[in-house]
Amino acid sequence: MSAVLEFQGVTVAIGRREVLSDVDAAFAPGTLTAVCGPNGAGKTTFIKAALGVVKPKAGRVRLFGREPHQVAPDARAGLAGYLPQERRIGWGMSALRIAALGAITAAPADAEARALAALERVGLSGLADRGVFEMSGGERARVLLARLLVTGAPLLLADEPVAGLDPDAQLLTLELLRAETARGATAIVTLHDLSLAARFCDQVLVLDHGRAAAQGAPLEALSPAVLKSAFHLDAAWTDTPHGPVLSSARVSPLD
């Protein structure tokens, strides 16, 4: 089966700094992948390169077989939806209006219907008319997740979608993205919680200093050796009824 998204020797530089170096990766349809790595490993740049927001210095990104920055904006929006790490919303519009921005090019009535359905999925149907500035940070994050779901795109790219959320909201977010893969969509998320990555994802891509350190099934990609070299952790996986859980300690603790 051909890959939805493919990185072939991709190098991206921001200014003089190389943020991604010679990255190869491929993502099959209907899968949920976590992109993991320490802070500054290049996860956000990876997502932006996939969208064509940043252009590679070398190598090629293939989004459904085409280079993303060469695809017209309307066609690209039909291929990939994006949830950024930054959750700042410019104006205090209603949750419904913000969620409907996921289908900004659709007819207003259609966009609104899709937004209402998405708000219901994230558990905010009762707050559809509330201004987002009157909501908590967690509620706002769920509105933005609903906005991503409204796109209905076959590829969903979410940059740290669970950061700052309570445990219930973290699980809901990943369950919803998992459900999107069940309808055939491909989802790629950046995650810092490695246990969640192992529990929910089909595969994990580990980035370390801009390089792909490992890609594969979660427990293979996040092997103790990789956890030590990329994350500087002495770590081990434990099986639990809810999936694998990582127990870890820093390789070089303060004392």
Partner: protein, 328 residues
């Protein structure tokens, strides 16, 4: 329907404000004179109402609409409630263009001052666009706008300094204080043309402003031609600001205040804010000009001075509110 109701309300208020500004003035008219003004073309009351007060009020409305539209565009574009043509240096650069034309003695050429103000605004808009393409963050653009405004102000001061004629200097100064005094229907028609162009461009840019609510990166992935829409927004704001400066000199704070007056009524939607903000700007300036005319001062207050006196505390209030919301 709610939006239509808001716009209708503002249109009615504007018509009422225009009627008030046409009816009231320094020269007090009796009932029979008002009757003459409506029934005897060419009579003195007719001249006062339809050749002096009405075109002046109409000019104030056009200038206010330009500023209100420009402010809403810039605030939407930058996702910042403090953005306005003055803050971003467009007004100051347009004023510099006009000041240069006056001091160089080119003001005798019909339309030269207006054209140079428009060119100045377009240059500022172009600089802002170039800067925004390299540094899209709203905060960076505001800082650049402040620098641009300071630079244009400094060059204007240099123009004053090196001006060979005190008469030209006085003329520039009077013009820069902002006024719609002695405007005729020809001036109003001249201002309506760029306003029309700006309205069309702004209508085109509306969805782009809405998309920018989610930030530059997300907006770029929503399927809209963002580069074109942002260009349309900056062009509309520059044309509208240039037209306002060309018609009335520098009038501050209307562009800042108008969007705030109507923002809550459109649930903060930047694409739905454009028309009401333009109407609110028109209403504000018609009433401000009436207040400046009617103020009990020996010399008539300049409109720009009046709006600055009222607007500066308002700016401080908006800044305080914005700072509070950024902390939450």
């Amino acid at each position: 329907m709610k939006r239509l109701g808001l716009n209708l309300f503002l249109v009615i208020a504007l018509v009422a404000g225009f009627a008030l500004a046409t009816t009231l003035g320094e020269t007090r008219l009796g009932l029979d004179q008002y009757l003459q003004a409506f029934t005897q073309p060419g009579s003195a009351p007719w001249e006062i109402l339809w050749s002096i007060r009405a075109p002046r009020a109409a000019a104030a409305a056009v200038v206010g609409a330009c500023l209100g539209l420009s402010g809403a565009l810039m605030q939407g574009l930058l996702r910042n409630p403090l953005a306005d043509p003055g803050v971003l240096g467009v007004s100051a650069t347009a004023a510099l263009g006009a000041a240069l034309t006056i001091v160089l003695g080119l003001a005798v050429v019909p339309g030269a001052v207006e054209a140079s103000a428009l060119v100045g605004a377009a240059l500022a808009g172009g600089c802002l666009l170039l800067f925004a393409a390299r540094f899209p963050e709203p905060e960076a653009l505001i800082l650049f706008g402040v620098a641009l405004s300071s630079f244009a102000g400094a060059v204007t001061a240099l123009v004053f300094n090196l001006s060979p004629s005190p008469i030209a200097t006085a003329e520039v100064l009077a013009w820069m204080l902002g006024s719609v005094e002695n405007r005729n229907w020809g001036d109003v028609a001249w201002g309506l043309a760029p306003l029309g162009v700006a309205v069309v461009l702004a209508g085109h840019a509306g969805r782009g402003l809405l998309a920018l609510t989610l930030g530059e990166d997300t907006a770029a992935t929503l399927g809209l031609p963002m580069r074109r829409l942002k260009l349309a927004a900056v062009a509309a704001a520059s044309i509208a600001t240039g037209a306002s400066v060309a018609m009335a000199g520098v009038i501050g704070f209307v562009g800042l205040a108008s969007p705030h007056l109507v923002r809550a009524a459109v649930r903060e939607d930047p694409s739905r804010l454009l028309a009401p903000s333009a109407l609110a700007g028109a209403l504000m300036l018609v009433l401000a000009d009436l207040a400046a005319r009617m103020a009990p001062t020996e010399v008539e207050l300049k409109l720009g001075v009046f709006t600055a006196l009222v607007g500066a505390p308002l700016f401080a209030f908006v800044a305080w509110r914005a700072a509070r919301s950024w902390r939450s």
